[in-house]
Amino acid sequence: MRKIRLETVSRIEGALSLEIKVDSRDNLAGISWKTDLFRAFESLGVGRPLEEMPFLTARICGICAEAHHLASLQAAEEGLGISPPEGIRKIREAFGLISWLRDHLTVLLLFSGPDLESFPSPDSLSWLEKTGLWDLFLENRKHLRRMLEIVGGRGHLALGGIPGGWGKKISSEERKELGERNERVLLLARKTWELYWEKTVSQPFLWPVQSPLVALSPEGSEVLVLPPGKNKPLRFPLSRFYETLVESEEGSFLKRINLPPFGAYLVGPLARFYLFPSPDFPLSREAHQALKNIGEPDLSRASLFRAYEVLWAAERLKHLLPELPINHSLSFAPLKPVRKQGLGAFEAPRGLLLHHYTFDLDAVIKTVKIITPTAQNLGVISDCVPRFWPYWPLTEEKNLLFEIQRFIRTFDPCVPCMVHLLRNRSPRDSSPEKEGQRKIF
């Protein structure tokens, strides 16, 4: 029995390591995941005012900050019995779309881009320069940051989220500026889609999906579940879906989520593609049709679906911007909970994100539970490794590790989101505390 260690997987958000056990015949004998960074966010929220949660949870991850901000806001509003007006919903949607664009473009052009090349892959910055997109990428970082700033009040770690409202007004000049900047983003979106299409479409299918696909319905009240081989999704009310989920621990500090009776399931761009209706916008409709024609869901092409979503988000934003209210009136709802819990859901760039809080009638948090896209995808990643193992190059360890990392990166995992949220302890941790062992928090 030999052990292959990968410490740490590069070009993903956060630190993830794995140990693979291989027997004398090169069969996979076991795989264990390990993350080396645990911040216990579910503990840190306890005892804090409910209205601070959108700010606190945005610090779970600097990449997914906007997604946590929005999901947290929704959870707070459900508990407070508030429903924001239509104009505010549109501002939040615009905010979410800009964060999608920024996040997906970062992942496509910095993290997964070098994987389009053969082994050994170049570093991100050299690869990006070689594609000729470096200048446009940097320019668009500027545009997207400014757009987040216009809508969210700050380019990073936004301040817009107020229960029942949105704290940052948008002037008519700013709305015009958003439109102009979005045109440049759309240009990069097109080029990114073309690059990924050209590099990916001719490649053979490698990693077919055999898990249910899951996404929040576009109107946000239901969760859609598409079992393998089916054409029509099952529909669950959001709260019922949440209550059905089962949490377990996978490796060290990692949370895995299963959906009985299906077990592991996939969330994210690929799932959304098969669950969402065709878009009405010209470029993304064309891309959607092209993707439909390439066949069954395949994880080796997951980045292509991400590139499609960039195109869709830029076009959706273009159509949404004229509808954003100008200088909307600010309001701050009274912080008097009408119930003692709240559930928020948001389709984050990486997939379905759920925030669930319980609190007292003074709006002080009692428990926090956060289900992230990566925690939901972890089961699929774990289940797929044994399936794909025979097809990976086993003779050269470097090549094997390259393939495994490439596979992991197709899920665009965000490890900090996942691990910072683990429930406090498991029964096996009840041994006496000693140096180097986890203790009860």
Binding site: E7, V9, S10, R11, E13, G14, A15, D36, L37, F38, R39, A40, F41, S43, L44, V46, G47, R48, P49, E51, E52, F55, L56, R59, G62, I63, L110, D123, L125, S126, E129, W134, L138, R141, K142, L144, R145, R146, E149, G153, R154, G155, H156, L157, L159, G160, G167, K168, K169, L330, S331, F332, V364, I365, K366, L401, P416, E435, K439, F441
Partner: protein, 362 residues
């Protein structure tokens, strides 16, 4: 593995001088110094940098790379020679660790160690490990041999969110681990100009800038937000926002009564704005939450209640009113501010009375 190679930045001379000018102004230096700063950037060897990520959200790197106009991120990447950066490098595992070892050997005593994130100390530091090694151990190895150590962001500078009560992982700030001076550039996230200006200052003058008691460059953190705030005249005149969305809020009045921590927060946000020319919290109508100060998640919470009423979460859903902590932490400044606010409000009342008297006389 070789370090991350330099990239053709395509930075125009105009942009370059613009950045140098803003950075020079940020440092509080006269405009005549711009040429000297620019010369230092151009002539000096690119300082090798080892960038460590510990307990953090990568928000500081994100904030830095998300800088907008002028293209600050380009200059930063041009200015420094990034030898090791987990998020941006291609290699992984042993390859990455080899790169780190190589850089440590080659640039011993000359490299800048930039740390993003806090360090776990509980249970032997197992809650934050890189490549199987606890962060605390890596920091000691890399930090002690560096030419300079910069803690970027509030997590590295003061412990940040993971060090908030009940601090389950025993997270601490970088300077608590190292027995050497550390330059702190706090902020959640920090302003990239404050980082750039600190590096530029050191390159230009050969020594770090003057620091305050919390090891923050005085040029960036020497004055309270309150003293530089464009809404200060409203405070002085007793014009306060009473609740979000009220007419006073629409008019852009002072946010002190809805929780603004500007009076006890030291930072150049009002002048520098957030991330160069952009917006900043108070400018967007949101109270400052004091993110450049130590333990702000505990000391400044609740964010929407005004000073000095400070609560500290004690776990299990209990919140304790920490009058004592409030007094020690921010009480002195808050008392002055509260007195000042009262005077402002009194002035407003007097004005209104005198106005009424005037009307009656007429």
């Amino acid at each position: 593995m070789a370090r991350i190679p330099p990239i053709r930045m395509g930075l125009s001379r105009r942009d370059f001088l613009k950045i140098c000018t803003i950075a020079t102004a940020t440092m509080g230096l006269p405009v005549e110094m711009v040429d000297k700063v620019a010369a230092a950037v151009k002539s000096s060897e690119r300082p090798p940098v080892i960038w460590l990520h510990f307990m953090e959200c990568t928000g500081c790197t994100e904030s830095l790379l998300r800088s907008s106009h002028p293209p600050l991120a380009r200059l930063i990447l041009e200015l420094i020679s990034l030898e090791y950066h987990e998020t941006l490098m291609a290699g992984a595992g042993e390859q990455a660790e080899e790169a780190l070892k190589e850089a440590l050997k080659k640039y011993k005593g000359r490299y800048i160690c930039v740390v993003e994130g806090a360090v776990s100390t509980k249970d032997g530091g197992i809650y934050c490990q890189i490549g199987g090694r606890p962060a605390i151990e890596i920091l000691r190895t890399v930090g002690e041999k560096a030419g300079a150590v910069i803690a970027i962001g509030t997590c590295a500078s003061f412990g940040g969110i993971q060090a908030a009560a009940p601090n389950p992982t025993g997270a601490v700030k970088v300077s608590q681990v190292l027995s050497r001076p550390v330059i702190n550039i706090p902020g959640c996230p920090p302003n990239p100009y404050n980082f750039l200006s600190t590096v530029l200052y050191t390159l230009t003058f050969g020594h770090p800038p003057e620091l305050d008691d919390l090891s923050r460059p005085k040029f960036a953190y020497g004055r309270r937000i309150h003293d530089q705030c464009p809404r200060r005249p409203h405070f002085d005149e007793g014009r306060f926002v009473e609740s979000f969305g009220d007419p006073a809020h629409q008019q852009g009045y002072c946010l002190y009564k809805v929780g603004c921590k500007g009076p006890v927060t030291y930072s150049n946000c009002p002048v520098q704005r957030f991330c160069d020319v952009g917006a900043w919290p108070i400018g967007s109508g949101h109270p400052c939450i004091g993110c450049t100060e130590p333990s702000f998640w505990d000391r400044m919470s609740p964010f929407y209640e005004h000073l000095p009423k400070i609560y500290i979460p004690a776990g299990g859903g209990i919140r304790v009113e920490a009058e004592k902590a409030g007094r020690v932490a921010v009480g002195a400044a808050a008392a002055v501010v509260a007195a000042h606010a009262t005077i402002g409000a009194a002035k407003k009342v007097l004005k209104s009375i005198s106005g009424k008297e005037k009307d009656q006389e007429e």
